[in-house]
Symmetry: C2
Subunit: 289 residues, 2 copies
Amino acid sequence: MKAGMIGLGAMGAGMAGNLAKAGFLAAIYNRTMEKAETLAKELNVAVFDRIEALAAEVDVVLLCVSADGDVLAVVEAIAQTIKPGSIVVDMSTVSSDTARHAAAILAEKRVSFLDAPVSGGVEGAKNGTLAMMVGGDEDALEKVRPILQAMSARIIHMGITGSGQAAKAVNQVMCAGINQAVTEALAFAQAQQLPMEKLIDAVSGGAAGNWFLQHRGNTMTNNKFAPGFKLALHHKDLKICRAMAEKAQIPLPLTDMTIGDYERLITAGYGDEDISALYRLKKQLFDNS
Amino acid sequence: MKAGMIGLGAMGAGMAGNLAKAGFLAAIYNRTMEKAETLAKELNVAVFDRIEALAAEVDVVLLCVSADGDVLAVVEAIAQTIKPGSIVVDMSTVSSDTARHAAAILAEKRVSFLDAPVSGGVEGAKNGTLAMMVGGDEDALEKVRPILQAMSARIIHMGITGSGQAAKAVNQVMCAGINQAVTEALAFAQAQQLPMEKLIDAVSGGAAGNWFLQHRGNTMTNNKFAPGFKLALHHKDLKICRAMAEKAQIPLPLTDMTIGDYERLITAGYGDEDISALYRLKKQLFDNS
């Protein structure tokens, strides 16, 4: 199986590296061409300047881009040239509606589509330890599973098309709440002048232990907010989640709080920082009090 | 070193088991005598009906009780008979002020006091994998470290007397926020009719991964709320945390929200359930909407 990868951002580049290492990656494409050319040399794979050209050359097209519109534009381009019987796997975080729309476009070409958003941060993408939530046809998933395993430690089939994105929405809602929980607690700790590194070590080992504390606790308390996961992107995801929740008439108080906090941070110029920049706000509040 | 253990609740009984297994436990005491007698037979250790009698017989007294008043009453009793040079280790979750008060009482008898609250749930107590946050004299900690290691996977010296309790307060604040985050997200998932077991498995492997989701996700979504960690006890802890935060003029919005939610649940008769019973409230809200 020959795979092509579209979208080489912080997540996509890490994924492409692992696909190449496992011998699956044949071709890559990125909107910013320079990025693709550099990575193609590094990974020794073909680089294409048009999505249509890449899609004609491979059996499996993987993509990881930023927004709903980008996914649909990429899928429209893929549909022009892709061979019947191929499989398209979208690892972007977008709405379930977009997943269903993309699947419908490709179904007309007798091409399978899987929505397969991931979680695990840039570390997970780089180390091939992502968690992947997959919606769509189970047979198609089994065919591409060896490829996905090159990037993921955990691949879970959630159900029909769109259910991968629905699961990812749950993941993003939980991330928002955990960001609130960890930043609130660590700002409280710092105000008590506890030794932060020791505190983070101790708390990580107990019932409050979590990925975010372990991976972002020491950076945020040292005022380092390099992404990681860009705050403006999580903000975009949470607005999708809120729309889904409103449709179902479901309250998401922590998500609402986080959207508001992120908007204050984006206005203040911190949208390109890691989501742990929420800590700035928690500390500012304390300093102002 | 001969150790005695006072307080054999859900946490204390697990700890006593591990102390006995490691050969340190000589004696136990519990306010409800029957519990102590049963456990004493099981562990083949002495049982005392008075704290003063136990304290006279051992080199290290460990205690794990529920409230500030209980700790001070136990420490007053210990102080009547304990040998100079002994060490008292309090694993209860109480205020830093109580830790300082207890240390002062024992200092008069030339006895060291460590505040050493733990996290890791009943599972951690049973399996000897607790995280322990210790305040007080470092030399005293080194002397009892072999004993504490029988119960803990992680023992962290936080600083002077009271700093163990301050760290635990941070832990309890974080637990409250994570409870909010996990219950909000899982109720959102259930409203979307996602397959919950698979969802919990997938999300656990990514950037939203956390102890609480892994250990309570499947029970709460199956409407099982056996403690675990009693909601009424966490409520008590959070009120201590809020008082500390108010003193320092620090806002703790998630903690405030959780105290309010717990009070609704306690009024409705769920105070003896696990803290994951917060899920009841999240689901009820959705059903009402």
